[in-house]
Symmetry: C2
DNA sequence: AAACAAATTAACCGTTTGGTTAATACAAAA
DNA sequence: TTTTGTATTAACCAAACGGTTAATTTGTTT
């Protein structure tokens, strides 16, 4: 499966200026955030004159906004796809955890980027959600309710369960530096730890909710 | 229990200039991050001339560093205290989840602040950990190993379990704006949701690991 | 090849930034 | 009261910032 979230955003050739700016800006914004990023650094990263950033994107905030919006939408589109898989609930959980962990592992900047920027400016997501209602989580919630009424899993608030599953996946990615320090992981140890989680998280969740 | 992480940092009177700068800086840095914060805004918040910030703390980075270090240490000191409670494992989990959730709820800026700033500069924590080895999590890991060998809980990697428990607590706090948007919470709905979690997370975890 | 529009650049601009300084107010010691 | 060290301020500064502009190159159309 192609897990790279950003293949060719603007459907333009690799040498296209706008595309190069976009990718350079993404890289810098991901690493340094809106306030920490410098327009000059983005221009240098793209190998292009700084004036071009404004020529194509008007302002720093507009440039940032278009990147944030695409990242956010793409990230939740992927989540929605996984969540909508046509599988029985327990298998879907296994499927989701494994693929979602791999997704955020291969785009490990994204979750911290989104959480961090939303924390500094919570308004930004509201405009994005207003445009296009992402209601895939409703499917998952219905799955859960059905499984409860069928006696497949114990009664549990579907919202709590969803937050549990997603949190178990995202947290160790977002908190990587702390985990590595506190649990004495080197890069390989950390990778193994996450690899283990692909099975462990599903096991952990299913163990908790399954009725024999 | 006094859950406010920052009662009187420098053990000085409320009107003390250094203390006022410190608290003003904390407030601004928490809300806007290192790069987004302005020295002038901190000075205004403290009701004090900007030159005083440099008089007491030399530079923006030093001021930020001292706040970050104190927040970080205090936060993990609290975590260590909870984790070291003298209780049987399953009761300790209940105790921990309830109190840890209350702690981060009452200091809700801290987790996102720490995660966000570490993401932008992972080096910063290393110096803090070098000073003072925080090894309270070892106690918890031993508890888990013992409980496994006694047949109280199923076999599970203690590190995975710890990350699960902490992640289940922290994630919904850090991701509050997204949760509120996606799950249609208003402020009260969100608070209820977290209040429910104080019992639900412990139930979820214990259900998953307990052997009848 | 002439004309025109789009893309690109170097140089520039006003503002804001973290930080400094020199002068002053304050308080305790002499 | 004079002295002395500390606390505080207004004014200032150089550098860095996001953004603009005017001129030039490039590519396309006629």
């Amino acid at each position: 499966m192609d897990n790279n979230i950003h293949p060719k955003t603007h459907e333009k050739a690799d040498k296209d200026t706008e595309y190069r700016i976009f990718e350079a800006a993404r890289k810098v914004f991901h690493a340094k955030g809106l306030d920490g990023a410098r327009m000059q650094e983005i221009a240098d990263e793209a190998g292009i004159n700084k004036a071009m950033l404004h020529y194509y994107f008007r302002s720093k905030d507009k440039l940032f906004g278009s990147i944030f919006e695409e990242d956010f939408k793409e990230f939740f589109k992927r989540l929605a796809e996984l969540i909508s898989a046509d599988l029985p609930l327990l298998e879907k959980i296994e499927f989701f955890v494994e693929n979602y962990l791999e997704l955020i592992l291969q785009n490990s900047y994204i979750p911290a980027f989104i959480l961090s920027e939303i924390h500094h400016n919570p308004e930004r997501i509201k405009n994005i959600f207003l445009e296009k209602g992402i209601k895939a989580e409703q499917i998952f919630m219905d799955d859960i309710k059905t499984a409860i009424s069928l006696g497949i899993i114990r009664p549990i608030d579907p919202k709590q369960l969803i937050v549990n599953i997603i949190g178990l996946c995202i947290f160790p990615i977002v908190a990587k530096p702390i985990l590595c320090t506190m649990l004495s992981f080197d890069e390989e140890g950390y990778r193994n730890f996450i690899e283990e989680r692909k099975k462990e998280v599903a096991r952990f969740v299913i163990n908790s909710i399954k009725i024999n």
